[in-house]
Amino acid sequence: MNTSKRQFLGRTLGVSAGMAITALLGSTRALASVEDVQKAIAEFTGGKAPAEGVVTLTTPEIAENGNSVPVSVSVESPMSEDDYVESVMILAEDNPSALVATFHFTPASGEAVASTRMRLARTQNVLAVAKMSNGDVYSATNNIKVTIGGCGG
């Protein structure tokens, strides 16, 4: 993978190589309702409704620790000068602040792959929305369960 030293700085925040970070946990903007989440997606995509596919979102079925839930996203793309993934936004629908992170890529990223950890307030949908250089948008949604604590036997 072709990764510059500058881009590698992202790793200190627990993000895998290949991108720079513009937003992480702790955004002051509260997204409390479905409408707000929809609005945030619309702003990101320029109003275009995301299609399914292309984006692979990997999360646990059930969170082991709601305070630190691993999330990985990868987007199929040749990552060439005229066809690459520009950015991927991750949202947790029912968090007090829904925006988890936005990852930006360039053709030099080599591949559009990123992972980080997020805090989840409760069981909810997590979305990844990818914006391609040609303006196409794709998304994937996973439901992640946050339990009180089980009795497995």
Binding site: E61, I62, I148, G149, G150, C151, G152, G153
Partner: protein, 563 residues
Amino acid sequence: MMTRRDFLQFASVTAALTGFGGGLSRVAAQQSLTQDDLLSFDAKGQITLLHITDLHAQLKPVYFRPPSENIGVGAYAGIPPHLVGEQFLAHFGLTRGSALSYAHTMVDYVDMARAYGRLGGLDRTATLIKSIRAERGDDKVLLLDGGDTWQGSYTALQTNAQDMVDCMALLKPDAMVGHWEFTLGEDRVLEIIDSLDYPFLASNIVDNDWEEPVFESTSMRDVGGASVAIIGQAMPYTPIANPRWMFPGWSFGLRTELLQQNVNAARDAGAEVVVLLSHNGFDVDRKLAADISGIDVILTGHTHDAIPKAISVGNTLVLASGSHGKFLGRVDLEVKNGKVVDFNSTLIPVFSDVITPDVEMKAQIDRVRAPFEEEANRVIGKTESLLYRRGNFNGTWDDLICEGMMEKRDAQLSLSPGFRWGTTNLPGDDITIDDLYNQTAMSYPSVYRLEFTGAQLHDILEDVCDNLFNKDPYFQQGGDMVRVGGMGYTCDPEGSMGSRISDMTLLESGEPIDASRSYVVAGWASVNEGVEGPAIYDLMEEYISEKEVINIQKNDAVKLKNS
């Protein structure tokens, strides 16, 4: 050890004494039971897989009453393993009163238990395994241990599982996986694994920092001239169902993508047969068999289901070999041109009275138990009623534990986890330290006393209920419903999260549980760190000793809706 003649007398005399209806035909059925019959099998091909799972540290033969409820939901309703009693007998064509009927169902349980005796005992299992290895040839047989082997008895608790490790070593397993093993703590688990002559496999455990594999995922073996890959899968929800703080560095989960990668890697490395040794639970593995391509056989455990033969899901065979040493699972495979072309499978019920114990294993069991034998056999009380645990909503052992916690901790309500391990005492039996610890032996035994609001209690019940009855098996954790003392409720298993539990009622007064009111609750096996309170086994020893004679009445505090 009883001779065959003794056994026959025992069986028929008991049948006469208990007025066992159906008489002669049942006695005749029992008379057909011999070690050779148990071993009789139409062997196939060049590979034999033997599977033991969820032994829960039971070295000696046990009574284990199969459940009266084992409800499946959604697409999994009414199909194995979600069949009990007469439905189970009808589905598998078993005759009521037969040896297999007793091994697999609770129909006529007490009479049948008195007639057929206990099942299991690792010395009996050793005899079966040695006999199959001798018949087939060592190079054609793999013995695979599905986990939950190192926890569940007085002696395992006292020795930090060394008793089980020493006895299992004699069986020479080819691989194992884990679940309750992890409740020994990271250090002890790694210490034991270092001492094993066989691999401890886990495709789905990664370290929390870098998400890199902690254990080997796969063991490649040459069996009967064919290349066999064994891939291991630990209980995916161990850090949720059990205390995560005991193994803080490890992350589990289903990790289906990783599993598919490991299956593909095994195939690329030349595996002609891929076996998944799994502690996922039956419905999870039924779904997994359809989702993952390239697995020939799943040897499944965790949910303690015993199904007489392997079930086919597409091209995958799924064999569920029960628990507590009651059964030895066997799958034979014929491989031609890198493909499984024929198979046969069975669960061998380990009828302890008709199998000659293996001398070497018997001596080892006696040796590991010797320092504890006197204490383990100490009688603390007697029961007039049947004591068992297994069932979706309650069992009489947990009714007793709930009663004991409420009284000894002066609580209005009590909560006891829906564990599926724990053996059975027949009416009239003494209750020994062994019996008590078979229900309670674990490493986080403190009995807490806390106040919960009615709303919190509702949340807890809904949460656990969703772990049991989520229509997507990938969200099922494999335990039964939390047992509740002092409170009744209605459950709708087919409902969705948040809507299954209704009519919560304080049994003492008959009043509805008030969402905003606080109730004093006693409970055990909290997954939180630093829980304070007496150990459940000490509390219950005191309670049973004081009561002297136990008699648990039928519990109908939980009502079912739509099921």
